[in-house]
């Protein structure tokens, strides 16, 4: 080594000439879900490299890559993997969280149905690193097609010796199973998911003990999102350094951003973390079809942000979005048009959380499911009274941070942010019983 080269600039835009999509590289290609296709496109190289490195080095590699969980919380994946009691010799489990039920998120579905082997490889890598011998893929019940593709891919992989006893002759035994959910958002919460997998009501469990100590069937378990495992596949294949070159200081790698609402090209875009909302919305998604007033930046639980230049220029990475007052979540961006009543839009989400509340704890069952929903119904139907908004705020204060799991807090994301940003719309409804933006026709004829 002679002179230290100046560190290359990180890749923070999908337009960067160095940025190559990997997670979705094959999504949409003919037969992309077959083992044959996958292997012709360099599949199962990451896991081979993992086997060559040894499990501890795999965890180090993932740590070095800076990968953070793509399920919403953004917890460092390598660190999470290292929480498993690696040397206890007990059976361990890994679970892939493919429950994807957060409104605004729809990235995992295509990973499952279009590139199932990428996930299998990622779970092999995770299973190897965490000394697990069984992995479960918990797919939300409605994703029938994805579950079928996943199932078929697992059969193919088994037949090819990629799952089962001594995978690829490595001496590492690993098998995968698909478990289908049946319609409950709470199953995305990791401990509720484990209950569901155990054939119980999907109520979240008490922590501690954390899943890494006592999870599925009481054994050490780690849960990761589909995208997280797929990213691990790419990291092992192309190296931690490659991954760490993309994104920002603390949010590294690429991410599947989803955009929905009235834009020209709604869909999933694979972009490096740090890409701005503006780039996503205008350059990739072709721009809004009408005037907008709010952005939900990362799935419905994330507080709405106002539609303004400051927000549009915010890089989509965990820290900057948090600084802007919201969360990156799952990266599911939704645009809310100016001409829509924000109270009505929020009611819709509140109803969603109320419907999905598991009913275990009081603030969520009574506060969200029973009361908040009806307060919004009252307001939206034009029966609001002065003081109702204040009451909603006070109720939120009694709910927030008091519930058993994060679902109740998730509901407060849209509630509190919409009141903060659009108080005048609320007040207008409460005082005049008239929405500032009356309902309008939105359903397209063809």
């Amino acid at each position: 080594m002679t002179v230290a080269e100046p560190a290359p600039k990180p890749i923070t835009s999908g337009k960067d000439p160095r940025f190559a999509p990997t997670l979705y590289a094959h999504v949409g290609q003919p037969e992309s879900w077959t083992l044959d296709y996958f292997q012709r496109h360099g599949g199962y190289q990451g896991v081979r490299r993992a086997f060559a490195m040894g499990p501890d080095a795999v965890i180090e590699e993932v740590k070095k890559s800076g990968l953070r969980g793509r399920g919403g919380a953004g917890f460092a994946t390598g660190l999470k993997w290292s929480f498993m009691p690696l040397k206890d010799g007990k059976p361990h489990y890994i679970i892939c969280n493919a429950d994807e039920s957060e409104p605004g998120s729809f990235k995992d579905r295509y990973l499952l149905s279009e590139d199932p082997h990428q996930l299998i490889e990622g779970m092999l890598i995770g299973g190897y690193a965490m000394r697990a011998s069984v992995g479960y893929i918990y797919i939300r019940g409605e994703y029938v097609h994805a579950a079928e593709r996943m199932w078929a891919a697992i059969q193919e992989a088994r037949a090819a010796g990629l799952l089962g006893k001594s995978v690829l002759g490595s001496g590492f035994d690993f098998d995968l199973q698909v478990h289908r959910g049946a319609g409950a958002y709470i199953c995305g919460e990791e401990t509720a998911l484990m209950n569901s997998l155990e054939g119980l009501r999907a109520n979240p469990r008490l922590k501690p003990p954390f899943p890494a100590a006592a999870g599925l069937y009481g054994l050490p378990t780690t849960i990761n999102n589909v995208e997280t495992f797929c990213a691990a596949t790419q990291i092992l294949k192309y190296g931690a350094d490659w991954h760490a070159r993309m994104g920002t200081e603390k949010s590294k790698g690429m991410k599947l951003f989803q955009i929905s609402g009235p834009v020209a090209r709604p869909g999933v875009y694979e972009l490096p973390l740090g890409t701005t909302f503006r780039e996503l919305i205008y350059d990739w998604a072709g721009g809004p079809l009408e005037e907008m007033k709010a952005i939900i930046p990362g799935g419905s639980s994330c507080p709405m942000l106002p539609w303004d230049d400051r927000v549009l220029d915010t890089p989509m990475e965990y820290e900057s979005v948090a600084a802007a007052g919201s969360m990156l979540g799952t990266g599911g961006v939704t645009l809310i048009p100016k001409a829509d009543c924000i109270v009505n839009a929020t009611w819709n989400l509140v109803r969603f959380y109320g419907h999905e509340s598991c009913g275990k704890c009081t603030p969520c069952r009574e506060g969200i499911s029973s009361w908040m929903t009806r307060m919004y119904e009252k307001l939206s139907r034009g029966h609001g009274q002065p003081g109702d908004v204040q009451l909603i705020l006070d109720m939120s204060d009694n709910i927030g941070g008091r519930s058993f799991c994060a679902l109740a807090d998730a509901c407060l994301g849209p509630v509190l942010s919409s009141i903060k940003l659009f108080r005048e719309e609320y007040d207008q409804l409460a005082h005049t019983e008239q929405a500032m933006y009356p309902a309008r026709r939105r359903w397209r004829d063809s």
Binding site: S260, P266, G286, G287, N348
Partner: protein, 208 residues
């Protein structure tokens, strides 16, 4: 009449996915419910008791678990059980009007089955297809996406002749055949996966 009595291989297969312990046995509860519902359209009390026996639990527990999830039915549904996503992203694309249209055209309310036994409707929450809103799920088959008024009517007509089209699966093709992504304006930008070199391969280090 027992449902699983003559389906031993299936039952064995389901149990084999979970540990051979009482807890593992219990895990089969949801897949077994799904089997019955797929075959019979709903899960009757007799079936619940049967499943309880298979999983080593009680009818109470089966009913408790079943009722927790929104896609299991205790009453028969129509042959075409249409589930309309009503969550915000679909609502922004007109799912409320879609729902009203369905209910009035089919003349069924949630919980009912149309007199010809064909249709039943249900409002459901986010189906995870927000990019192709509005979305209607057909039974346990799959989704119809971007259901415009014209498409809705086409679908209903097809179902009335018992020839529903297969579910849609439009894939958000953001990456082109060359592995590069395309901007909204048609421009291809960035690199392709073909330009990346797996670590340890000959090309490694070749690219900045």
């Amino acid at each position: 009449m027992s449902y699983f009595a003559d389906k031993q291989p299936l039952v064995t297969d389901i149990f084999s996915r979970y540990p051979a312990s009482p807890q593992g046995r219990r895990s089969a509860l949801m897949p077994l419910l799904r089997e019955v519902q797929d075959a019979e359209g709903f899960v009757s009390e007799a079936r619940m008791a049967e499943i309880a026996g298979l999983c080593g639990t009680t009818a109470t527990e089966v009913r408790s678990v079943m009722s927790f999830y929104s896609t299991y039915h205790t009453l028969p549904t129509g042959r075409y059980h249409l589930q309309v996503c009503s969550t915000l992203m679909c609502a922004l694309a007109g799912s409320d009007e879609l729902w009203d249209h369905l209910v009035s055209v089919l003349d069924v309310q949630p919980g009912e089955v149309s007199p010809d036994g064909r249709f039943s409707v249900q409002k459901v929450e986010c189906l995870g297809s927000c990019g192709t809103a509005p979305v209607v799920q057909l039974g346990d088959e799959g989704y119809y996406e971007q259901v415009t008024r014209a498409k809705c009517d086409r679908l209903l007509a097809a179902m009335r002749t018992d020839a529903p089209p297969p579910p849609d699966n439009p894939v958000p093709v953001t990456v082109r055949e060359d592995g590069r992504q395309m901007l909204a304006n048609g421009e291809r930008v960035g690199a392709s996966i073909a330009d990346l070199a797996p670590v340890g391969s000959a090309m490694s280090g070749g690219e900045a």
